[in-house]
Symmetry: C2
Subunit: 245 residues, 2 copies
């Protein structure tokens, strides 16, 4: 039997490629941003990040450019990279777009998903519920992303899935802190969503997904109301001041 005969049948082994430095740097910087070590508006000096991460400037530059494309940092030509300052308005718009993309994904998933897809959905849902019950917030958030990603994948539209994934990554930045308060309710909605997909009921799947994303959005806006404690009105320091001499 030729090896190519079984290609695509089972999940590819996906040997853990020693990913390029650039990709590692991207993930590292994202982590620094979501964890708050890099604050919104902060000037990201290439050489400093390079030293911090133990690499040279080149991979850092490339990472910053990619991150700029995904909305994590803003690139000012000739001036450098700055951590994107997320506004409430933008979060609202982002969540609206996510709602749009995921609603359509759910509709298409209900149309195209087969038994196998539904089984994987149920599996993920169970994992998510387990995570919530054991107070594993990070795990719950991760599983939530996986589930939404799977729904978009089941839509059968790869372009749509890719776009939704991109938007979802950005949403996650805002989303993580509110995940705790949504808690279990979110997973009940997931369950009924999967029911609708299994039944092939496009309208119901779309409706549930729209309401689901709207709930998340409302939850976010509500949390924002409660803590309008913007630490600082963004003292966007564009350049490091010279050391006094």
């Amino acid at each position: 039997m030729l090896l190519s005969d079984q290609a695509g049948q089972t999940a590819a082994p996906k040997i853990p490629r020693p990913a390029t430095l650039r990709e590692s740097v991207i993930e590292a910087i994202q982590e620094l941003i979501v964890s708050g070590q890099l604050k919104p508006g902060q000037h990201l000096v290439e050489s400093e990040l390079a030293e911090l991460l133990g690499v040279s400037r080149q991979p850092v530059r490339e990472a910053l450019q990619q991150l700029s494309g995904e909305g994590w940092v803003d690139l000012h030509p000739g001036q450098g990279a700055f951590v994107h300052v997320p506004t409430v308005e933008e979060a609202d718009q982002l969540l609206a777009v996510r709602a749009l993309l995921e609603t359509e994904s759910a509709r298409l998933a209900a149309k195209h998903a087969g038994e196998d897809g539904v089984r994987r959905l149920r599996d993920l849902c169970a994992r998510g519920i387990a995570a919530v019950q054991s107070d594993d917030v990070d795990g719950a958030v991760a599983t939530n992303s996986e589930l939404h990603a799977l729904v978009t994948a089941l839509s059968g539209n790869k372009v749509l899935a890719e776009l939704a994934a991109q938007v979802a990554r950005r949403v996650r930045w805002y989303h993580t802190p509110v995940a705790r308060q949504r808690g279990m309710a979110s997973w009940d909605e997931h369950t009924s969503l999967i029911d609708a997909i299994e039944a092939g009921d496009e309208r119901r799947a779309a409706k549930i997904m729209r309401e689901h994303t709207e709930h998340t959005r409302a939850s976010y806006m509500e949390q924002r109301e409660n803590e309008p404690a913007e630490p600082a009105p963004a003292p966007v320091r564009r350049r490091r001041p010279r050391r006094l001499g």
Copy 2:
């Protein structure tokens, strides 16, 4: 009067920044791709592009990475960049996503657009019709893009507009050749779309936009039917063969 007083009142001067080399290279490569000088599946060798464009490898590298993020080229780690091979299936999916995004944009535009916005729409529409009547295909396509971009901008959702723009750029790659056959009909639809937006009729605006984009899609698929003359089933040459020696 301080200079800052008039900031934002008139359109910013937008001094024609001698844009970074990277951006120039991006546009140059996009042009090479849409014009067909770089064929789908072709291996893009950094040093060759660098010499061709008269710059060093670095800006080329960065340009290729950004283009990969937008779906123009595929990046295979350790192997290089290849011009993306567009499939019919993908074009269909892309057009479907565009329909989704633009339909929502139209709906929101009807909700939020003011007099000024409508005036600018009518202006663009007139320019487009003039272009068609004088057989200026390139001008018509460009104006078409501008008009759609303005509709998304009038939606008031910047994230949505940005995403729609990204999708539209990719669509344009496929779209240009079919523009001729759509011709005038397209602009009649634009006119009724603007009427609906002016009237603030969300449902009608959305409906017209959906039908409009569906027409474009149907037109594309039809053209594809007539010329399934895929020159070659993508002899995806992954590496340049060694010079015989």
